[in-house]
């Protein structure tokens, strides 16, 4: 068995004449923390969508956990996403008529069975046990992002995909979110973070820089 959780090979994604991604190849090890950087429009989100089983490449192969997801049907893509991926969004995407707790439970519901106690534990972990019964519009941006993280981790995904998770947050909240990502990483989950913030990127072991849809640079962040 390979050590790799994710392998991209010559992945190209075209929108008409525009190549959002062109011949992108790289791989991510199990348990690794990788940052993706690059200027706006360089194809970061496009790549995350493909890795997150929400889009298919125009050509090339993407192997996630031993399965080539560029060949799967939409239905099984949904299942793979549900079982192996936790998504964190820049705009949080909480359901506005459900409480924090219920928002976490929705993820359980579509995965397996809702378990209120477990959902509550997840909220406790992100420090929101007091806020469990609040609706999203009663929460601050930082709190909403932490609900989003609790929702992403509730089904114990192997891979966490975060597209600019700190983009809408102030520094204090950014710190909290990074701390949570670090914890998840330490638990052995693989984390891929898209960011514009070099400080956030530094936390990762490697940074992949995209430019005009191509891998421009892969750097190791020597921390130890």
């Amino acid at each position: 068995m390979s050590q790799m959780l994710l392998e991209l090979e010559n992945v190209t994604k075209s929108y008409g004449s525009l190549d959002a991604l062109k011949d992108v190849s790289f791989s991510v090890e199990k348990g690794e923390w990788v940052a993706i950087m690059g200027p706006s429009g360089s194809g970061k989100t496009t790549m995350m969508n493909i890795v997150g089983c929400m889009d298919k490449p125009s050509s090339g192969t993407v192997v996630l956990d031993g399965r080539d997801i560029s060949r799967e049907s939409p239905r099984s893509l949904t299942n793979i996403r549900r079982d192996t991926i936790g998504l964190i969004f820049q705009q949080f995407h909480l359901i506005n008529y459900l409480t924090a707790l219920e928002n976490v439970m929705v993820a359980q519901y579509y995965h397996s069975l809702p378990d209120e106690a477990e959902a509550f534990e997840a909220l406790k972990r992100v420090g929101l046990e007091e806020r469990a019964r609040h609706l999203p519009n009663q929460l601050s941006g930082g709190e909403q992002q932490r609900v989003c993280i609790a929702r992403a981790l509730i089904n114990r995904p192997r891979l966490i995909l975060a597209d600019e998770p700190t983009g809408n947050l102030d520094e204090a909240n950014e710190g909290k979110v990074l701390e949570l990502l670090r914890e998840l990483h330490q638990e052995g989950r693989t984390v891929i973070v898209v960011t514009h913030d070099p400080e956030v990127a530094e936390q990762a072991r490697r940074t992949i820089v995209l430019e005009h849809g191509r891998v421009h640079e892969i750097r190791d962040n020597e921390k130890d």
């Binding site: 929400m54 820049q90 506005n96 929705v106």
Partner: protein, 427 residues
């Protein structure tokens, strides 16, 4: 969890859901009003049309024979030219007694005014006659109810009056008579003085006639308890093939057909039944009126059906718009659920069930509001309450459910085609 999600969606977005419920309610109320009116309108329109006069005329056998030969005017004065006044109430004993709305006898004769040379037609009849039938039923009937379109200045006379008369407007002009004037009416050798109580503007033969009570006419002609004919106003079913054949000859029907015909309120079967209870008379439908009534009724019902269909169509469009708007607004939420692993079928159910629940509430409100509308329509158009038909409830439920499902089809198609990648990154 499913239930919590639905309840959350319903109760925490009250405003939006209320709009959908109200649209459904509006459509449902129109449909329920129209359906209720439509199912009840047969009777109502029929009664309304009956207000425009009689549709069956009962003549003595002898008169019919002679009038066929010479026309009424020259008919000689023989005993078989008359029916008995007590025959009239017998129409209330036939199988379709319930469909007999009004009836009134006539005793026709001619006389002179103030000793003039011209003969004028004199009719004795009932005006607002109170009858106590042998069956115990009490009712009021007479020409005042059967000629509601007459434009009468002054007062109608009552059945007890012996010295008041109503005269046609043309006759009044010709004789220079006005309300309150007196005149002498000569019939045969008898003479009597009357006051003009009312002047009739009917737009027909009646404008040249004198109207007095039946009793007075009988006394003046020495024809106690006799009448020359009576007219009956009945609610009838539009004729079909069997009815037409029966009208030609009732014996041409098979036993089974005869039974069906007899037990249906065709004008011909009602006539047949009147003949059974008044053997000295012959009941004749006044064809034109009876037939046009049937077609007018059919047309009215068609019109109402059209309005029902249109109102439901309108509601479907409105619902479709509202639901589309709500689904579009929630596309990021639905994309998120897809991203979290929701498959198409449960998602469709979620949205559909939500809308159906809201639709149920709207439908209920609409049904009762529609009953209210139906009453308003009933009162303003027909001057009578509309009976609530229980059949409307299942019919309306099915229609509302259908409208909601059809109305949400475009949204559901949109929902299924939604790709989470496109909605979640706020492009």
């Amino acid at each position: 969890m499913f239930i919590r999600m639905i309840l959350g969606a319903l109760f925490r977005q009250k405003g939006k859901m209320l709009m959908v419920a109200l649209t459904v309610a509006l459509g449902a109320s129109l449909a329920s009003a129209m359906l209720n009116v439509m199912l009840d309108v047969g009777d109502k329109v029929n009664r309304e049309l009956k207000a425009y006069g009689a549709n069956i005329n009962v003549l003595p056998k002898g008169a019919l024979l002679l009038s066929d030969l010479y026309g009424m005017e020259q008919a000689p004065d023989t005993p078989d030219m008359y029916l008995s006044e007590e025959d009239v109430a017998k129409v209330k004993t036939i199988f379709w007694a319930h469909n007999i709305v009004d009836f009134t006898p006539h005793l026709n004769t001619s006389g002179t005014i103030n000793g003039g040379a011209d003969a004028v037609k004199v009719t004795g009849t009932w005006y607002q006659k109170h009858l106590s039938l042998p069956t115990g039923e009490e009712l009021e009937t007479g020409i005042q109810r059967m000629r509601s379109w007459w434009d009468v200045s002054g007062d109608w006379i009552s059945d007890e009056d012996t010295d008041r008369a109503m005269i046609g407007s043309a006759l009044a002009r010709q004789q220079g008579l006005e309300l309150g004037d007196s005149f002498t009416l000569g019939v045969g050798t008898n003479e009597q003085t009357f006051t003009v109580s009312g002047i009739i503007e009917a737009g027909g033969d009646e404008d040249d006639q004198v109207f007095i009570t039946l009793k007075t006419a009988q006394d003046m002609t020495d024809k106690q308890e006799k009448i020359s004919s009576f007219e009956v106003s009945a609610l009838t079913t539009p004729d079909n093939e069997i009815a037409r054949r029966a009208a030609e000859n009732p014996r041409s029907l098979s036993a089974k057909e005869h039974e069906t015909w007899y037990c249906t309120a065709y004008v011909s079967s009602i006539c047949y039944q009147i003949d059974e209870v008044v053997p000295e008379g012959v009941a004749k439908p006044i064809r034109q009126v009876a037939e046009s009534e049937g077609t007018i009724l059919e047309k009215t019902q068609l019109l109402m059906l059209l309005i029902t269909v249109l109102s439901l169509l309108g509601a479907a469009l409105g619902i479709s718009n509202l639901i589309s708007a709500s689904v579009m607004e929630r596309s990021s939420e639905i994309g998120l659920m897809k991203a979290l692993g929701a498959h198409d079928v449960p998602l469709t159910w979620l949205v559909l069930l939500e809308i159906l629940l809201v639709g149920l509430v709207g439908g209920l409100i609409g049904y009762f509001a529609g009953l209210g509308f139906a009453q308003i329509i009933g009162q303003t158009v027909f001057g009578a309450p509309i009976a609530a038909a229980p059949m409307v409830i299942p019919l309306l439920s099915v229609l509302v459910a259908l409208v909601i499902i059809v109305g949400s089809l475009p949204s559901i198609r949109y929902l299924l085609s939604l790709r989470p990648a496109e909605v979640l990154h706020g492009r």
